[in-house]
């Protein structure tokens, strides 16, 4: 589904991604973790072309993200993305947020889009908030709306960029529960997160990044079970001690 081959990226002299190679198969849940500044957020943004790689290739469903003739809006419409800071559009209501892409990109009618939006809001437990504005919701609620907005496009895969790290602790679980549900329904997911509980529960593979490189790319059981590189060990002990 998602193939990343030798992806590299520089900001002038600073190398943010260094020869990264990994893949996410259909129905797989891959968790990417690593210390801050390790390049994981950059990597996931390259998958739908929000950031560009300078060397290597990324393909999604066989379509090359970097190719000049690729219809990026179309490709992005097929991949859902959830951001660290939610990024709901503040000037329109919750249901309009979910409808915007459906109407403008997929060409659905307003009624059709609203039906779908309300169904998704029900699924994330927020159908009563449909006509509120994003700023009137809590962080956890906003992030659940953001997930619904991404799902409304009927994506073949979902990208999560630290979806819980801007949330207060008591709101993290309501978002993780929705994500676990998605994973159990067979959604293909690439998730940048520090939530190792989530990884243990639903991940198929764990990718550990450090200084722009993929240091480990293993199954969940290996990652949590066996001995690891020193950096990963150190990182994991810090994460799990909280």
């Amino acid at each position: 589904m998602i193939e990343i081959q030798n992806a590299s990226k520089w900001y002038s002299a600073f190398r943010v991604l260094n020869d990264c190679t990994t893949r996410v198969a259909k129905g797989e849940v891959v968790v990417i973790c690593g210390p801050s500044g390790s390049g994981k957020s950059t990597l996931i943004k390259c998958v739908n072309g929000l950031e560009r790689i300078q060397r290597g290739s990324i393909t999604v469903n066989g379509v090359s993200v970097g190719a000049p003739d690729t219809d990026l809006p179309k490709l992005r419409a097929g991949i859902g993305m959830v951001f660290q800071n939610f990024e709901l559009f503040p000037h329109i209501t919750v249901v309009q947020n979910i409808n915007l892409g459906q109407i403008k990109v997929l060409g659905r009618s307003k009624d059709e889009a609203t039906d779908r939006a309300l169904a998704l809001l029900r699924r994330v437990g927020l159908h009563e908030q449909a006509d509120k504005y994003p700023a009137q919701l809590s962080g956890g609620q906003q992030q659940r709306v953001a997930i619904a907005r991404a799902l409304a496009m009927d994506p073949v895969a979902m990208l999560f960029d630290e979806p819980t790290s801007a949330l207060d602790p008591e709101m993290i679980n309501e978002v993780l529960d929705v994500m676990v549900g998605l994973a159990q329904d067979g959604m293909t997911m690439m998730v940048v997160t520090h939530e190792m509980g989530f990884a243990k529960k639903v991940a198929n593979r764990i990718v550990f990044m450090d200084e722009g490189q993929i240091v480990e790319d293993t199954t969940k059981d290996e990652f949590f079970g066996t001995r690891r590189g020193e950096r990963a060990q150190l990182f994991l002990s810090k994460i799990l001690s909280h």
Binding site: P73, R76, G78, F83, N85, E87, F89, I92, K132
Partner: protein, 240 residues
């Protein structure tokens, strides 16, 4: 100080008519110029926020050019110089056949000048929104144009209502420069009344009060617009 007061001059014909007509031209110049400034300025402001280098440079050149030459000099360039450097037929049309040449020159001059200011506000508004919103709009598959149209501009304009208001009032005040090329707007008319009647104090007072009244009306109106368009739950960035 010797001065013969005669406030009645303000309501005597033809002077009352002069003031009314002057105010009319002030409004006509300001509004037409603002339409140009708003649309041209928005386009240039957007250009300066795109990924395309050539557009960004073109936008910056426009802004720096129009910002760094005094408005009065620009007025003379449009009015006296432009018809001479255009091909002869176009120049002749500007000089002879264009209807209301002073009016349209003033409108275009003020509009293009103010567009540079509007462009800076629009750019600042969009930059305040941040990359996250831009990414989110692209991530649901919107094209760059759709992202500006449906997300970045609607939010950006709300943020910059206060500075745009002061730019609009700027156009309104700057429209007085049109008198230098012969548009008989409010300031020109009141000066003329002063010269005809030697009642400069009264006529300038009339102009002053009209400018004050318009300023306060526009500000009150824009404050209502600001409240009306405020996004529920958000603290407006521009709130005073």
């Amino acid at each position: 100080m010797q001065y013969n007061w005669n406030w009645a001059v303000l309501i005597t014909e033809p002077y009352l008519g002069w003031i009314a007509s002057g105010f009319g031209w002030t409004v006509a110049v300001s509004c037409a110029a603002w339409i140009i400034a708003f649309f041209l300025g928005s386009a240039i402001g957007v250009m300066r926020t795109t990924e395309i280098r050539a557009l960004r440079i073109a936008g910056a050149v426009y802004v720096e050019t129009f910002r760094n030459i005094p408005l009065l000099v620009q007025m003379f360039l449009w009015y006296f110089v432009l018809p001479e450097i255009l091909p002869k037929s176009a120049g002749d049309w500007l000089k002879r056949d264009m209807p209301l040449p002073e009016y349209w020159t003033a409108v275009v001059c003020l509009g293009t000048y103010t567009a540079a200011r509007v462009a800076e506000q629009v750019r600042a508004g969009i930059n305040t929104i941040g990359r996250g919103q831009h990414f989110a709009a692209l991530a649901i598959g919107l094209t760059p144009i759709q992202a500006y149209r449906n997300v970045l501009l609607p939010i950006g304009y709300r943020i910059i209502v206060p500075p745009l208001t002061s730019d609009f009032l700027g156009v309104f005040k700057n429209s007085s420069l049109a008198l230098t090329i012969g548009v008989l707007e409010l300031t020109a008319q009141t000066r003329q009344i002063g010269e005809y009647t030697f009642q400069g104090f009264e006529s300038f007072t009339a102009a002053t009060l009209i400018y004050l009244a318009v300023t306060f009306t526009v500000m009150a109106f824009m404050r209502r617009i600001e409240t009306r368009t405020a996004i529920p739950g958000m603290i407006s960035l521009g709130a005073k």
